[in-house]
Amino acid sequence: MSDGLALRLRLFARSLLLQAGFCDERRQALGFAWAIDPALAAYAGDAAGLSAARARQLASFNVQPCASGLPLGVVAALEARAAKGDAAAAARGAALKASLSMALSGAADSFFWGALRPLAAAVAVLGSAFAWSLGASRPFLCGAALGLAIFNAPSLWARWAGLRLGLAEGEAAALTACSLPAQGWIRAARVAAVLAIFAAVWCVLNLRLGIPRLPAALAFAAGAGLGRFTNGPLRLVAAAGLLGAAVSAAGWTGWAL
């Protein structure tokens, strides 16, 4: 294994613990400093330079964790140049680290949290329903495994590819990343998630689980229509509970969804 690949593997593995030291004041600073440390140690010219480089990495930092590979690679590449005598490289690295974290987080939050995670969950429900209909002994675990694969394949690839790009191209990697059609990916993943949710609801209602279709469909429609006004479903669930209690207290004994 070449030194470059071994270093990249170490940075990648450590980036998986980026959030371990998350704190209010510096966010992911501790995790970032630990993740990039093998690169700093490999590139360092002297002890004073290594100490200064380590101190720079403890500045406040926050990025969507699946997109952490790119800033990690870019900063490592610029710290390598700084260690070789490029006096301005360290400052450029610090500036790029801050700006990249903000720029990447917007798109990565929308893609990974706001689109891919719901898609993975809906596919997990579909997978569970399919496994159930086939008579699998652990249908929920089968579905969960499918959902995990849907999310983790692109998220781990994004982390690895970002790291490779950043290490290879340095600050130019930011321009390459900007040229990606991220908005198109986000829109496509959201549409796919909506379709998967409808398919999952249809599948679950058509399994012989004894779920009455009309109340379930009404609750789904209520969630779709009212969710935006209640900032999510939790208040709607509380309202459903109050409604159920009121109906029961009023003496309608037929209340059973």
Partner: protein, 209 residues
């Protein structure tokens, strides 16, 4: 499996899986759709109860998917909620699913508050690293990271164990003697929750697409 062994096993599983929520990865191993089936499968004496853990996991997944952890925001710990509910319903306590759902909501809410305190306390790790660098010593970054992980797991274990050992039995005892209208209200919320969550999520995604 005795009640204590079951509670400790459940709390241990929840503590390990919860690390994925905001410490390791993320790989989505901490999401309710994974935690619920796994905890239910590990603790349940029967196939049916294992499915109950899965169903509770999917219920909490539908309820919490719309909440995005942007900028480290943390209002509710979905993994602890789903794990506690699944352990109570599918474990030896065999708490009614509606009561387990309410106990899970409480545990998720409580864990998020404890986690906020953890995040305030971790700032000391960065300051220790800076102090070491200022003194000319290499910072013990790996030890700080591993310490933060161990503390996070220990705190989650304590919260989950307290919920399973105290809140669960209390809910199991209180549930049958609650007034009928309260049980009907909890049942209505429990049954409607996944559909309300799925509908709200689908509409939210469609508006943004």
């Amino acid at each position: 499996m005795t009640a204590w062994a079951s509670d400790a096993t459940g709390a241990g599983m929840i503590a390990l899986l919860e690390l994925d929520a905001a410490s390791i990865g993320p790989f989505l191993l901490s999401r309710p759709l994974v935690v619920g089936p796994l905890v239910g499968w590990a603790l349940s004496p029967s196939w049916r109860d294992a499915g109950l853990g899965g169903a509770l996991g999917f219920l909490f997944e539908a309820l919490t998917l719309e909440e995005l952890p942007l900028g480290g925001r943390l209002d509710f710990s979905a993994s602890v909620a789903a794990g506690v509910a699944a352990a109570l319903a599918a474990g030896p306590a065999a708490v009614a699913p509606e009561a387990a759902f309410l106990a899970g909501l409480f545990a998720g809410w409580a864990h998020a508050r404890v986690e906020r305190g953890q995040r305030r306390g971790r700032c000391a790790s960065v300051r220790r690293a800076e102090a070491a660098l200022a003194a000319g010593r290499p910072p013990r970054l790996g030890a700080e990271v591993l310490g933060a992980l161990a503390l996070q797991a220990a705190v989650t274990f304590a919260v989950a164990l307290a919920a399973l050992a105290a809140v669960g039995p209390a809910a199991a005892r209180a549930w049958p003697v609650l007034p009928e209208f309260l049980r009907a209200g909890a049942s209505a919320a429990f049954v409607a929750a996944p559909w309300l969550g799925a509908g709200s999520l689908a509409a939210s995604l469609w508006r943004r697409a």
